[in-house]
Amino acid sequence: MFAVYCREFKMVTHDVGIILFFMFLPLAYPIIYSLIYNPELVKDVSMVVVDHDRTALSRELVRKMDACDQAHVIGYATDLGDARRAIDSHKAYAILEIPEGFARKVGRNEASNAVMYCEMSLLLRYRGFLVASTNVMQEFSSELMTENIDRIAPLAETIATGDLLPVHNVSMGNIRNGFDSFIMPGVLILILQQCIVLAVGMAGGAQRESMRLTGYCSDNLAPSVFLTMVAQMLCYLTILVIPIIFMLHYVPLIFRFPMAGDALEIFAFILPMIFASFGLGFAFQSVVTERETVFVLWVATSLVFLLLSGLIWPMYDMLPVWRWLAGICPSTWGVEGFVKMNANGASLSQVSGPYLNLWILAVVWWVLGYCSRRWVVRPALMKLSSR
């Protein structure tokens, strides 16, 4: 087994393609991705105002809106058509229309309505506008209400001195509500899985190819299929140790993602996912006849794994067929457990469900990987070598 390990190590270090997967993918990809989303929040999105009222009150409303973190008033438009043109030419993403009589209604103790039209190309922008308008509305209303009540019945000090029932909200796990901190921890796990599967797949393709082109077969030396697989995995793991530590520990550190979990527990958790990914990679080898086909056959699956992980769309709301498919992907459970440990500070015992599933998957994929190596890859290699 040690001989296989050494031979495999030599082969891998001489293969630029596989080294690329082992080095570039886990080292550069997390950084590029994190940089894209690193500003975390969508701030100061442009909007225009159509003010039919033109009173001190309406101007105050606009000022308050502009003062919000999320919105930025770029100017006044004369009418809705004008404002619409600003939206159409991609200069602004929302219109705040204040109707005539806005201040008068407030003065008469009637409810006054303003309308905000939001362009819906991106949900994050809409969300920002919604938060901004809700905050402005509440702030404005409680100010006016206190004033009014005080005027009508100058009594209730409880009301006059401000908020009777303060409401607080706390964002757990991702305290800044940032997009990077939301998506990246999951993506890190996906990158890890894909990196392993692609590299193992490519190694399988390379083996078949070198047989075909040069007649050299490395598998003939092997004592058994299973031991070869173990040796190969150990060899790849030796190379991957540093990238894995970098990805799971240093990338969150560099980009200030939530890191509430215990590092050792996280690595203990991720171990079966790594095993399962290797098993998946060995199973994948059965369809890889040439090294480059791994790109065509596997790269696009990243998207499927991402959507199945439950990060974007919650798992409980998926169709049973997709939930079942998600269940057999190592990444699903890996993402779920990692996010919970890393962001929500769950302990290993709290993610025992995903952890157990990962061990089961590791066994299942290894059995499938063994079958693929024993009954598909090996006969194919034998056939090639006898030719």
């Binding site: 905000m116 909200n169 757990m172 469900g353």
Partner: protein
């Protein structure tokens, strides 16, 4: 790959050869048909509901009075939330969240009613697990609404007891109201965002890969020399014959995709079908042009495929389907404009979602043309390598 024995030369022969190659290898079927079709089905069925409903949540009622029970009932009646648990303490609720049983919880403190009536201002707090953005945002909205209603009810009661008449109170509660009108997607359907951007982006990835793969194969196995002979030494003829059948296949697929998304799945189509179809049809050669350019720069199967895969996958983030370009670092945001899918996305927003005049999106169509013309700058390089293919394993 074995040589295909077609004696005659010329354009038609090259096209036939290219088609036969596609038919013969399952890897081409996967790239051309299986992945795209699977993705159409996968994305549209997964996001069919538009928004997740009945998000699992919990309420921690430390007060246990009629008032706190009323709030619990109000919350439980909301459409978006499924009050699965009623833990006794904050820590219990937090453990449930850490285990993933719930996405958030609502906390009513001890002595809530008594404090409220005595004017000691108790605080209602709600917690949402923002590591799951979409369901947590739904919960946030529901929790906030519940808290605001509760507050309004209480303020009304207090004010009424102080002698304010009920009629003037109701308008006083919310004197200023800003109604948000989401234009083009009033149901806030999340599915249209994911499907309409991810499906074409996946197509871009597959077009990149298949273009680079099919040309790279010729270089790898040295069959490119024969291809050049068939084309009488004209690189233009060789590539056109090689890629045109693929273009036609992709056209069929994008036509199907457009129908699938906007007709079958009823995603918003507020503009003209014509411009949308034109955009999709131009998108295909634009992607092929981009991939061909990569092949020209790196005439090696492995390298060009790696680069295409890299860019194709990064496009899902860099093309800014969810996080807007102006919010990115300028040094990153600039890269969103180097991929064809960005323009496809912008045209989709203008034409399908917003349905505005095509003049506003004319520049995006020009960008497609630039992508198509891109490889012509370096074809001479590819010609040299096609004539002398070297495979570096």
């Amino acid at each position: 790959m074995k040589e295909i024995r077609i004696a005659d030369r010329g354009f038609r022969a090259i096209m036939l050869r290219s088609l036969v190659q596609i038919v013969r290898r399952p890897v081409y079927w996967t790239g051309f048909f299986i992945f795209p079709l699977f993705m159409f089905l996968f994305l549209t069925t997964m996001l069919e509901k538009g928004l997740p409903t009945r998000v699992p949540a919990a309420i921690v009622d430390r007060d246990g009075t009629s008032l706190s029970r009323e709030i619990t009932q109000n919350l439980g009646g909301m459409q978006m939330v499924d009050l699965k648990y009623t833990p006794n303490s904050f820590s219990e609720a937090r453990h449930l969240m850490q285990k993933g049983e719930i996405y958030g919880y609502f906390l009513i403190p001890e002595n809530f009613k008594a404090d409220l009536l005595a004017g000691r201002k108790p605080v209602i707090t709600f917690y949402t697990n923002m590591t799951y953005f979409v369901p947590a945002s739904m919960l946030f909205k529901t929790f906030k609404a519940t808290a605001v209603y509760a507050k309004a009810g209480i303020v009304m009661e207090v004010a009424q007891s102080a002698g304010v008449d009920a009629e003037s109170l109701s308008s006083m509660m919310m004197p200023v109201n800003i109604a948000a009108r989401p234009i083009g997607n009033p149901q806030l359907n999340y599915g249209i965002y994911i499907a309409n951007s991810f499906v074409p982006c996946l197509l871009q990835l597959m077009i990149f890969l298949m273009t680079a793969f099919s040309i790279g194969q010729e270089l790898k196995y040295g069959t490119s020399r024969r291809l050049m002979q068939m084309a009488d030494g004209s690189i233009f003829k060789a590539l056109a014959g090689k890629l045109l059948p693929q273009t036609v296949i992709w056209w069929v697929i994008v036509f199907f995709m457009t129908a699938w998304l906007y007709r079958y799945s009823h995603y918003p189509m507020h503009g003209s079908w014509g411009w949308m179809l034109l955009s999709e049809f131009m998108f295909v050669p634009a992607c092929q042009g981009f991939a061909l350019f990569v092949v020209c720069v790196l005439p090696n199967l492995r390298l060009s495929l790696s680069v295409c895969a890299l860019i194709g996958i990064l496009s899902f983030s860099i093309a800014a389907f969810s996080f807007p370009v102006p919010s990115m670092y300028p040094a990153m945001g600039i890269f969103s404009y180097i991929v064809p899918i960005r323009y496809n996305f912008l045209i989709y927003i203008d034409q399908a979602l917003n349905g505005i005049d095509v003049a506003y999106s004319r520049m995006w169509f020009v960008a497609y043309i630039i992508f198509m013309l891109l490889p012509f700058t370096l074809l001479w390089r590819l010609k040299r390598d096609m004539n002398n293919p070297v495979y570096v394993p």
